[in-house]
């Protein structure tokens, strides 16, 4: 009895192993059609899952809308995501797996490290246009990263938008930069200090905190002594921003507090509680609930998903929109779908209407979309409300 159970177990184990080995072959057989494949290394588990789940939903929804409307010149777009756990080696494995099994033209990457790691492979392959979750300034270089683009402004441009807003609101203001000791955190600091000077702003202090550090009491004292009018946080999702604000306010600071994209999702800011009231930051897209202007694409999203969708969702949705727009333009020009042609088509986008996802028509000259708006937290309404007009650099 026991022997037969063991042999049954062995048989199922063998079946599972055999099936797993045959899987790539089966998938390969399906890939012979005319579908345009959009692959994705998506972090659906791990530390970045909070964004990955939204990105995945955003891309899926746009692809569904597009395919329901007939696809691109009669060709369907097939979205093939793989979970990466936000690990570079797993992301590359996902890329290799998806590109081995499908003829991929478009690809969404999950991190700066992945974008940098896969870049030589993209150049070698030559058939893929890639965008991703990264807004790293380094990637905003069409010469070094010819087959990639950012779905919004890079981090330096985000700082640029905030600093321009500050310079307009309070000329000559004192500004503090608080950032994490990571590639993400340090990214815009040096260049933004130069820009602040150019705009007549005074960067009174720069504070770098250890990644993951939450005990910021000594840093808050330094910040209070510098008495900035505006404090810009970068390189964090949430912690230690609430700690800074709470302790700063307790010590009588009157600074206005600001953040960049990955802090600015409505659900993240609302987690700050009372301390986050009035928290401002740069956002390249309209919030899900922003009805201050006509936005047909947002209406469609609200119809499809009546519950709040994160800014990561909008980012994924817009990435899919721009990918497929580039594919459409390439096919319209009767050109082959390859990295070079897709990028050229993307760069031909001029005064493009995103259906209200971004409040102004966009033009993609290089690798980024340098547009954004300053939003402010209204804790009573539990919403982010516009604090500036759209600022295009």
């Amino acid at each position: 009895m026991q022997n037969s159970r063991i042999s049954q177990n062995r048989r199922s184990l063998l079946l599972a192993a055999g099936a797993s080995l045959a899987a790539p072959l089966a998938a390969h057989a399906q890939a012979g059609g005319e579908d345009i494949v959009l692959g994705g290394s998506i972090p659906m588990t791990g530390v970045f899952a909070f964004a990955g789940v939204g990105i995945n939903a955003g891309i899926s929804d746009y692809v569904k809308i597009l395919n329901d409307g007939g696809g691109i010149k009669g060709r369907k777009v097939r979205y093939v995501p793989e979970d990466t756990g936000y690990k570079v080696d797993v992301s590359v494995a996902a890329y290799k797996k998806i590109t081995s099994q499908n003829k991929v033209s478009l690809y969404y990457g999950d991190s700066t490290a992945f974008s940098k790691t896969i870049n030589p492979e993209l150049d070698r392959n030559g058939n893929i246009l890639m965008a991703g979750a990264s807004f790293a300034t380094e990637l905003n270089d069409p010469k070094k990263y010819p087959n990639q683009f950012l779905v919004g402004p890079d981090y330096t441009e985000m700082f640029g938008i905030l600093l321009r807003h500050i310079a307009k609101e309070k000329p000559g203001a004192k500004v503090a930069f608080v950032y994490s000791d990571s590639e993400f955190g340090r990214d815009p600091i040096e260049s933004s200090e130069a820009l602040a000077k150019k705009l007549g702003l005074n960067v009174v202090i720069k504070i770098m905190t250890p990644p993951g550090g939450v005990d910021v009491s000594t840093e808050v004292i330094k910040l209070r002594r510098a008495a900035p009018d505006y404090t810009i946080f970068h390189g964090y999702i949430l912690a230690p921003i609430p700690e800074f604000i709470t302790q700063g306010k307790q010590q009588g600071m009157t600074s206005k507090w600001m953040g960049t994209f990955w802090t600015m999702d409505s659900s993240t800011v609302m987690k700050m509680g009372e301390a986050g009231d009035g928290f401002m930051g740069v956002m390249p897209y309209r919030y899900y609930y922003d009805t201050s202007a006509k936005a047909p694409m947002l209406d469609k999203i609200r119809q499809m998903r009546p519950e709040y969708q994160s800014t990561a969702y909008i980012q994924g949705f817009l990435a899919a929109m721009l990918f497929t727009e580039a594919a459409k333009r390439t096919l319209d020009a009767k050109k082959e779908l390859n990295g070079k042609n897709l990028k050229a088509a993307l760069n031909s986008i001029k005064d493009f209407d995103t259906g209200g996802l971004i409040g102004v028509p966009i033009t993609i000259k290089g690798n980024s979309i340098p547009v954004g708006r300053v939003y402010k937290a209204d804790m009573k309404a539990q919403k982010m409300v516009p604090a500036s007009d759209w600022i295009a650099l």
Partner: protein
């Protein structure tokens, strides 16, 4: 007791491969390794290279932790030292592949010797905590010196061997696999020598080892040095494989990954390091392939991904609970079963 393997001398007893069956299987494995790149897709070649790099590093950690009994959480830091050395030499000096890899190993070895100094005073968890410092110190150096490219790191140009540019998984396979095999043979041979036996004696009881005339400091440092040499070479291969090296490429979590690999695989056996690294690298990927077979798997990815991660975690716990000696012990049991098969099982 196996039949048909009578040994008449100590040399025969200490031989690495002692039976014809074993040699035949090794020849089959070698032939498969040679054939593999011609039949496998880019995805499988990528995984094969990644597994080999992880096997090399896990074997290094096994020398230190499995054989010498010194727990280290600095393996990723030593890999980082090797990777940065290779990146800098390739980028700034353009020196040959083999020299860069060896230099990566030796720089990491130097780091290992320094980090290993506290091992004479502290053991176990205390030593593990002391070696964590290596991760933080190397991260600080990598992130704060312009020589290492700061937080942005370095982009490594592909190496060239005999005029062939190593820019694809297929081409890299032909250097990564042989280097890993050489390292494995080196490690296996090490434990047939006086040095290797001294490591084992230190692991089993360091005071007794000293009484037997084994200088603890020298051998503990040697173990650290050898282990980090392996990590350095693995890091060098990693740099050529991923072509981008940043301070965040070698986090503390990576050291834990290698420690988990040798625990799951089986500490103190070469096979354990291999099986552990293969398990830790391949099981998440194989689980993905199994989940892909489910209907609507693409639409359900968002729900299936966490389930997959949980299953992977449960598998690790399961192995630890039901086979604390690791996969190597399971493998040994399977082999034992077939020694007399089909006459007895």
């Amino acid at each position: 007791m196996r039949i048909g393997t009578l040994k008449e001398s100590y040399i025969a007893d200490a031989a690495l491969f002692d039976s014809r069956t074993q040699k035949v299987w090794l020849a089959v494995a070698a032939a498969l390794l040679v054939l593999f790149p011609f039949i496998a897709s880019d995805y499988w070649l990528y995984l094969a290279c990644l597994v080999c790099i992880n096997v090399a590093s896990a074997t290094g950690l096994n020398i230190l932790t499995g054989y010498t009994g010194l727990v280290s959480l600095g393996q990723a830091a030593f890999m980082g030292l090797g990777a940065y050395t290779v990146a800098i030499m390739q980028l700034r000096l353009g020196t040959p592949f083999l020299l860069n890899i060896l230099a990566g190993g030796f720089v990491a070895m130097l780091g290992g010797l320094i980090v290993g100094i506290p091992s004479l005073r502290v053991k176990g968890l205390y030593l593990a905590i002391a070696t964590i410092a290596a991760s933080f110190i190397t991260h600080f150096i990598f992130a704060n010196t312009s020589f290492t490219g700061g937080t942005g790191g370095l982009t490594v140009p592909p190496a060239s061997v005999f005029g062939v540019l190593l820019d694809t998984s297929f081409r890299l396979y032909w250097v990564i696999v042989p280097v890993t095999v050489l390292m494995l043979l080196g490690a296996a041979n090490l434990f047939r020598t006086r040095v290797g036996r001294a490591f084992i004696a230190i692991r089993d009881r360091d005071i007794s080892a000293e009484v037997l005339g084994i200088p603890l400091l020298r051998y503990k440092l040697l173990s650290f040095g050898l282990s980090s040499f392996y990590a350095g070479v693995a890091g060098g291969l990693w740099a050529y494989f991923f072509r981008v090296v940043t301070p965040e490429s070698f986090p503390l979590l990576m050291s834990i990954f290698f420690l988990a690999a040798i625990i799951v695989g089986g500490m103190g056996t070469i096979l354990g390091g291999i099986l552990g690294a293969v398990f830790m690298t391949m099981v998440p990927e194989l689980l993905k392939l199994v989940f892909d077979l489910l209907p609507n798997s693409t639409e359900l990815t968002v729900f299936l991904s966490p389930v997959r991660t949980i299953i992977f975690g449960l598998l690790i716990i399961g192995f630890l609970v039901f086979e604390p000696h690791g996969l190597a012990e399971m493998w040994r049991r399977i082999r034992r079963f077939f020694h007399l098969w089909p006459f007895r099982n």
